[in-house]
C-alpha cells in the first residue's frame, strides 16, 4: 500500500481575531462619520 507522505493539516478551532483588531474597528467606527450633502456623501474620520 502506498504511503501517504503528506500530513493532515491541523484543524484549528476557535480562531479569533486579536483584541487590538477588534478595538481598532470599534474606534474606527466611532471616529467615522458620513456627511450627506446634496446627494453626495463625504466620509470624515475624526480622531
Amino acid at each position: 500500500m502506498a504511503k501517504i507522505y503528506s500530513n493532515a493539516s491541523p484543524k484549528q478551532h476557535n480562531l479569533n481575531p486579536k483584541d487590538e483588531t477588534i478595538g481598532f474597528l470599534l474606534n474606527y467606527s466611532k471616529a467615522l462619520s458620513v456627511i450627506n450633502y446634496n446627494k453626495l456623501k463625504f466620509e470624515a474620520l475624526l480622531n
Binding site: N14, L15, P17, I22, L26, Y28, S29, L32, S33, V34
Partner: protein, 194 residues
C-alpha cells in the same frame, strides 16, 4: 436560528441609527466564523488579521453610508465581502510573491547582488573574447548566419532573405556553426564558464 437573524437585522438598524455598541455585539457574535473562514483560505494569521480588519472597515463604511440593503442576511453579506477580499489578496500576491522567513530560511539566499564583481567582469570579458576568436575560425557562410542570429538578433526568415538562401539552408549553417565551435572548444580544451 431565525431569532438570531432578526436580532442581527435589529442590531444593524440600531447601528445605522447611531448605536455604536450594536457593532460590538455583531462583531463579537460573528468574529470566530468570519475569522476562521478567512484563515481556512489564506493559512496565515497575519494575513487573516488584515483581511478581517479590511472586511469590517468595508462593513462599517457601507452601513454608515446607508448602502446596506440585505436586511436579515448580515453574516452571508459579511462573508461575501471577506471572500472577495481574500481573492484580492491572492491576486495581489500573484503580482508580488512573498517570501516567508521561517527561521531556517534566510531572505538573503534569495536576494543577491546581481552586479558582477571585478573578477567576474574580467572572466566575462575573457569568455567573450574567446568566443569571438572561435567564431572567426568558422567558414564564412556559417559565421555570417551565426553573427546575424546571435549578435544581431535576426530571425532565420530575415537571415534567409538577407543572405539569399532558403530558411533550411540558414538553419543548417547555424547547426554546423555550433557543431564546429564545440569541436574547436573540445580540441583546444577551452573553458568557457563564468
Amino acid at each position: 436560528m431565525k431569532t438570531e437573524l432578526i436580532q442581527d437585522a435589529e442590531l444593524v438598524t440600531n447601528y445605522i441609527n447611531g448605536n455604536e455598541s450594536a457593532l460590538s455585539v455583531l462583531i463579537e457574535r460573528h468574529k470566530q466564523k468570519i475569522y476562521s473562514f478567512i484563515y481556512s483560505k489564506v493559512y496565515d494569521r497575519d494575513v487573516t488579521e488584515d483581511v478581517f480588519q479590511d472586511t469590517f472597515i468595508k462593513v462599517i463604511k457601507t452601513l454608515k453610508r446607508g448602502k446596506y440593503n440585505e436586511e436579515g442576511k448580515f453574516l452571508p453579506w459579511v462573508m461575501r465581502i471577506a471572500h472577495n477580499l481574500v481573492i484580492d489578496h491572492f491576486r495581489k500576491n500573484k503580482r508580488m510573491p512573498k517570501f516567508h522567513n521561517t527561521g531556517e530560511f534566510s531572505i538573503f539566499s534569495v536576494l543577491s547582488d546581481s552586479t558582477l564583481n571585478a573578477e567576474k567582469v574580467l572572466i566575462k570579458d575573457q569568455v567573450e573574447t574567446d568566443v569571438r576568436r572561435i567564431i572567426e575560425e568558422l567558414p564564412e557562410d556559417q559565421k555570417q548566419v551565426l553573427l546575424m542570429r546571435m549578435y544581431q538578433d535576426m530571425s532565420f526568415k530575415e537571415i534567409s532573405e538577407r543572405t539569399g538562401v532558403s530558411i533550411n539552408t540558414a538553419l543548417g549553417r547555424m547547426r554546423y556553426a555550433l557543431i564546429n565551435m564545440r569541436k574547436v572548444i573540445e580540441q583546444n580544451n577551452i573553458v568557457l564558464t563564468n
